[in-house]
């Protein structure tokens, strides 16, 4: 058993992959708790596509070999886009998902338009940025640690304000918390999380980690602090178990991690359904 656990760690790529999957799992599921509770799960996919114009400009100015500069272009575009989403939903009182949809479609189309004017451009530009959990570099790990750490630190520092602004706008008014500022802050934190995860582990994994562990935790507990902790634990565990399955059974690694996190969700769903049924029959 011990042998079985240690053998994959002989490979440096497995060690880096596990570290990255755990870190991204914790970061995404923590930020994801806010995303899920506010009903804006679409934002991950939207931001992943909305960075296209930034990538196109970055490609033009820096050349395709330079993935590092593409990261900064993607990050800047994602932050601007997320602020735009926040601004539109504030001005129009639309639900946030409508604002997200409008900005996402507009930015993506702008990116396609930019690319189509320049010949010699690959339409598959977005895939140039996307990472693979098996190809994580030391540089990627530094990025995750520094940016991910900063995001978690800010979440911890402004935890109370972010929670009140997200879930109890009346209380926020009574306490005179600057709701606008904290809403924008949350959008920016989500944008950083999305781009960081895209660059290091790729889109499929980012989408799943942002939504699934937090949702699973939400099924099992209604208290936000325990939801954050449980979500992080599930996110990290999915990464580790998924990579081991990928190593021993030859399943594509990103898919394996996502499927493990979905398995956790289904188990939790079954448990709560059975639990609810048992409680109801006892009461009856």
């Amino acid at each position: 058993m011990l042998e079985w656990l240690i053998a994959p760690l002989d490979y440096a790529f497995m060690v880096r992959g596990i570290l990255a999957a755990v870190a991204v799992g914790i970061l995404c599921s923590t930020v994801g708790a806010f995303v899920v509770l506010r009903g804006m799960t679409f934002i991950g996919d939207a931001l992943a596509h909305a960075i296209l114009p930034g990538l196109a400009v970055g490609f033009l100015t820096a050349g395709e070999g330079n993935r590092d500069s593409l990261f900064w272009w993607a990050l800047a575009t994602a932050i601007v886009t997320s602020l735009g989403m926040g601004w539109i939903s504030e001005r129009t009182r639309f639900r946030e998902d409508a604002a997200i949809g409008i900005v996402f479609a507009g930015m993506f189309a702008l990116g396609i338009a930019l690319i189509s004017t320049v010949r010699g451009f690959s339409v598959d530009l977005v895939h140039f940025l996307f990472g693979n959990v098996l190809g994580v570099s030391n540089h990627d790990l530094v990025l995750i640690a520094s940016f991910g750490g900063t995001v978690l630190l800010i979440l911890a520092l402004f935890y109370k304000e972010l929670v009140i602004v997200s879930f109890d706008i009346t209380l926020a008014r009574t306490l005179r918390i600057r709701a606008g500022f904290y809403r924008y802050l949350l959008f920016v934190l989500i944008a950083i999380t999305v781009v960081l995860s895209l660059q290091t582990v790729g889109i499929g994994l980012m989408l799943a980690m942002l939504v699934t562990p937090a949702s699973t935790a939400h099924l099992l507990t209604k208290r936000l602090p325990s939801m954050l902790l449980l979500g992080s634990l599930l996110g990290a565990l999915s990464g580790i178990i998924g990579l081991y399955l990928s190593f021993y059974f030859g399943v594509a690694s990103g898919a394996a991690i996502v499927l493990v996190s979905i398995a956790f969700f289904l188990i939790a769903l079954a448990a709560t359904t059975v639990g609810g049924f048992v409680r109801r029959t006892r009461n009856a």
Binding site: F13, R67, S122, L134, F249, A252, A255
Partner: protein
């Protein structure tokens, strides 16, 4: 204001109609085919290329100008064997003027069974890495162009024969160049399987790929990467060859872990004009030089 709109719409019209057409119009899908057709076609034939240099032929999305170009074409040369899969629906509407250069070639290789086939047998489309097969393309191209401009048929046939001589010279040059690689080092690790025809002709062996199968879009498992790393280490493979249009981050990480290096190659398209591989002949020389430089070095 009316003058403005009239001149504006006139400009727009000119943009789509373009300059007056001189001679017969021939459209080629890849830059490689475009170069070869240009070598053989004479003055009376205008050669256009659909795909961009330095771009992945699989990831092509046509713009309106491209469709205009296709609609004006008298003949369209394509690689075939599903290389232009993204264009298949559009090309079908052009019927007989579409000439597939590779579909009827002899000795076609089956694609990697794993991952690549979607219920039907796939054939490896990367035919151009064998100059003797490209020589068969030249026969088809010369025949088609002669039919299109019968008055120039003798000149076209002469240019085709000259070019075929250059192709066989290239073939001999490749054999001599590859002799610099010791037999036990004639092993290739690439991003995905592109060198099937090259290996078959020149006796190299593909021992691993970063992405499974024929597609760069498939995702490897941790087990695949672990076994690739073991292969590279146990066979002391000195280099991993990755196409210029492929995301090389995974290959670079594998190279860093195994102490090998990543060498970028043009695989499906020529370089920009005046680049190191801007004709088919220089493309092949560039590829072989890079292979020799990467593999002949004692690790």
């Amino acid at each position: 204001m009316r003058v403005f709109w009239m001149s504006a719409s006139l400009c727009l019209l000119l943009l789509f109609v373009g300059c007056p057409l001189v001679g017969e119009q021939v459209v080629c899908t890849t830059t490689l085919i475009g170069d070869i057709v240009s070598q053989i076609a004479g003055d009376g034939i205008e050669v256009h290329v659909l795909f961009s240099p330095d771009a992945d032929p699989h990831a092509f999305e046509p713009r309106p100008q491209d469709l205009v170009m296709l609609h004006r074409a008298d003949r369209i040369f394509i690689n075939g064997l599903d290389l232009e899969a993204g264009l298949a629906d559009i090309l079908e509407t052009f019927g007989d003027i579409v000439i597939s250069l590779s579909d009827d070639l002899p000795n076609l290789l089956a694609g990697e069974a794993e991952g690549a086939n979607h219920g039907h047998a796939t054939i490896d489309p990367h035919v151009w890495f064998d100059p003797s097969l490209v020589s068969l393309w030249v026969d088809v191209i010369a025949e088609t162009l002669s039919e299109l401009t019968p008055s120039q048929a003798p000149d076209i046939r002469a240019r085709a024969t000259d070019y075929q001589l250059e192709l066989s010279a290239l073939d001999e040059w490749i054999i001599i160049a590859l002799d610099q690689i010791p037999p036990e080092q004639r092993r290739l690790v690439t991003d995905h399987h592109v060198f099937g025809y090259f290996e078959a002709r020149y006796g190299l062996e593909q021992v691993g790929t970063v992405f499974p199968g024929l597609s760069t879009l498939s995702e490897p498992s941790a087990r695949d990467i672990a076994s690739l790393i073991s292969t590279i280490t146990s066979l002391s493979i000195p280099a991993i060859f990755v196409g210029t249009t492929v995301n090389a981050s995974l290959a670079e990480q594998i190279a860093a872990d195994t102490g090998t290096r990543v060498i970028r190659l043009y695989t499906g398209a020529l370089s920009e004009p005046n680049g190191p591989a801007d004709t088919y002949l220089s493309f092949m020389r560039y590829t072989v030089t890079a292979l020799v430089e990467g593999l002949a070095r004692t690790p």
